[in-house]
Symmetry: C2
Subunit: 455 residues, 2 copies
């Protein structure tokens, strides 16, 4: 077993002589195993170790005992250590994360800050093959690209995972044989956590399907990772050939784009969006799909994208630029409400629509031009029945008994002269989300709080 880890450490260059290692030490079997391995190599490799333990304040007495146990072991073994207490549940609630996710995030932040403070060269974590397979399955279930198929990596920035070559049972056997002390983690037993279901129910089942399942997961992951690296590299090369930046606009040149192998195009579009938005988060397959669609459209067609980005089809290609200010603003008037728009794919079973009156959903594919937030203009109309019957906006105001003086102040979400939404009043039937809807446009006015009414 030790030999296996040594080979793995060498293969991925995980340790160098003189490394100063921050070790995440929960006191559980895996991290204790890693501690003992590092201790064994401490002298021969001139390693220095700082153990960092985080009490999540979830398990009360048990957690205090964990901390005491870690402290005692570190003293015995002459290892520097730090103990932290964090209100994980509170933070989870605040950040709207699961307790498990919040715990992971908090630990990671602590390890990194301790690494900086202590001048550590690496952060060692005790993940193993079961964790890898679990992550892979979790990614698969949640949806992922090739990159996500890579699971967890032996090296990730300054984080190293020397036990990623071992299955849990190998660690178990080693810890038993060497009589390495450890404490059971009670939260591991809780099947409510999605990951625990994978860990404790799905993986053991998969191992009955094929006893080498964990190894095979690993091997396939490594292949997917390699493929992803290649595609990324190729897409990058193409992207650099296609892009052009000028006067705050980012252009993807059509002539060059057409030469890109079909399989790489979505990767190139993704890079384009990443650069245009200046962010990677929330750029999804839907937005890539919108750009793909634009190639087939006439010059002048536009799509709204996240981060108030607009994509415009031009004779040269596709341009990305910050969305124009909402129109309809007149001198002396109040500012238009802050509006967030989001486009996403409709899940088959969507039956619950937003209840908040200032968050509305529309069938994105029924929108013909580009949605603008503005005041009323001559020619505005609503659709009032499924057959497409029209009503003038003016008539609507009259029917609703909205006084003349207020009408100019009401905000509208408009698709040309077709009104999607009289904000704060009614939503147009013509854009309703139906069984056939594929993509939904969500419009939120002032974070869903503004009533849009001028009264």
């Amino acid at each position: 077993m030790e030999q296996k880890v040594r080979t793995f450490v060498k293969q991925y260059h995980l340790l160098e002589e003189g490394d100063r290692i921050v070790l995440g030490l929960s006191g559980g079997m895996d991290s204790m195993c890693l501690l003992f391995l590092l201790l064994q190599w401490r002298k021969e490799r001139k390693l220095e170790i700082l153990a960092v333990h985080v009490d999540h304040q979830i398990r009360g007495e048990a957690a205090r005992k964990d901390a005491a146990f870690v402290e005692q072991i570190c003293k015995e073994k002459n290892v520097e250590y730090r103990l932290f207490r964090e209100d994980v549940e509170g933070i989870a609630k605040k950040k709207k994360l699961s307790v498990e996710e919040a715990g992971r995030e908090i630990r990671r932040e602590l390890f990194q800050s301790e690494q900086k403070r202590w001048g550590g060269s690496k952060i060692a974590l005790a993940h193993h093959r079961n964790d890898h397979a679990e992550t892979l399955l979790f990614h698969l279930a949640r949806g992922c690209g090739l990159k996500g198929l890579g699971g967890i990596a032996p090296v990730e920035g300054q984080i190293i995972r020397p036990l990623l070559c071992l299955e849990r049972r190998e660690i178990e056997a080693y810890v038993k044989q060497r009589q390495i002390p450890y404490r059971e983690d009670a939260t591991n037993q809780d099947l409510a956590y999605a990951r625990n279901r994978i860990r404790r129910q799905i993986l053991p089942e998969l191992e009955t399907v094929n006893e080498k399942a964990l190894l095979h997961f690993w091997e396939t992951s490594q292949r997917a990772k390699k493929a992803w690296a290649f595609l990324e590299k190729e897409a990058d090369r193409w992207y650099r050939l296609c892009r052009k930046k000028e006067e705050g606009r980012l252009l993807l040149k059509e002539e060059e784009y057409r030469k890109i192998p079909e399989e790489l195009r979505e990767y190139v579009l993704q890079k384009f969006l990443w650069e245009g938005a200046g962010k990677r988060k929330d750029i999804t397959a839907v937005h890539i799909g919108l750009l793909e669609e634009l190639w087939g459209k006439q010059s002048g067609r536009k799509h709204c994208l996240p981060y108030r980005l607009d994509a415009l089809r031009t004779p040269e290609g596709i341009e990305l630029y910050p969305a124009e200010k909402e129109e309809g603003k007149r001198p002396g008037e109040e500012k238009p409400p802050a509006v967030q728009m989001r486009i996403f794919e409709k899940q088959e079973e969507v039956t619950i629509f937003p209840q908040n009156p200032y968050t509305k959903w529309f069938d994105y594919d029924k929108i013909e031009s580009n949605v603008k937030i503005r005041h009323r203009e001559a020619g505005d109309y609503l659709t009032i029945d499924r057959a497409g019957g029209r009503q003038k906006l003016k008539q609507y105001f009259i029917n609703e008994k909205i006084p003349q003086r207020q009408r100019d102040a009401i905000w509208l979400a408009a698709d040309g002269h077709h009104i999607l939404w009289v904000i704060g009043y009614r939503q147009n039937q013509g854009y309703q989300v139906t069984d056939r809807t594929k993509r939904i446009l969500e419009i939120k006015v002032d974070g869903g709080n503004h009533n849009g009414r001028a009264d």
Copy 2:
């Protein structure tokens, strides 16, 4: 639901007007759903349908009822049909397949032969998203490359799978709503089948982790498939630049090979092996690894590969050619035994060694030159202890009291003058498979039956 299938059929060009469709019809929910959809389209698309039902002779009375049910429905709906009875268990035993695998193989062969006989243009199967996810997980557990991550495809040769856009529960709902009759398949309940475990235990668990798991599996699959197609295409282009064929030898040119992006090399080596062997089966990552290793070796080094193929390092690159006849054959003597060699990675827990005296395992990495099957030569020796102590082969024969006249007739597996195996007698301690063994060379003499003895 119907609309979804129509869109899917259009997207993948599954049906054309006038198609003659062989439908695999078990009588279960999925295939009955597909039958009814096809019937609905029969007129508008001018389809002709031939239903083929296979009774696996496993479920006795229930199976006869299935066949009767299919017959009745087909008569009612005016659909041509054929019923077959096959001894799946017997065939499984003979072919050393699981009953499920054998069933699949038999069905596929029957569908194809019926397609030919009837002049069908397509074979329609009722696989859905759950089957896709099941196959994907099965591939992952069993080990696969990018290609395997693709799961099952909407089109595969002449096979089409129009329901691959649906989850089982959608089919269930539709069948219920339309009151489509079907029969429960009792074998589906049997958890002993690996695939049934995935189907009935693992997938439902994964759906509790993420309710869109099946959709996400599909999407990730499609990405992996696209990536694989690209890598294949690129590898193919490179392979054509690198390969050269002359006088029964296939050469991979070093100069060109070195230019190949690192991530593509294994794909190129695989193509090289496929072409050299004239087969794809049994060419594994191990053999690709052997070729990779050869690049670092001196000219003149050789590796044995499956299908009696030798790989030779030359100054120009790597050559593949049919293995030379085993040496040591002298005029008038009996033919050397048929020998099969196979190299594979040692699984961590291998504890069971072949019990058959004519099948032996050796530590492949301890072999220095190239294994030959021959008779004795001057200078032959054995290793008799772990320290590497030697014994002359002659001395061994004397100790074993093997008469002089027999010694020349005994077959040996030799690594230079180092004897791995005195076939039919003893195996050399020096090549023993140990904890450190990574790759195993298996030698089978006459399919494991020949005793190698000349007496």
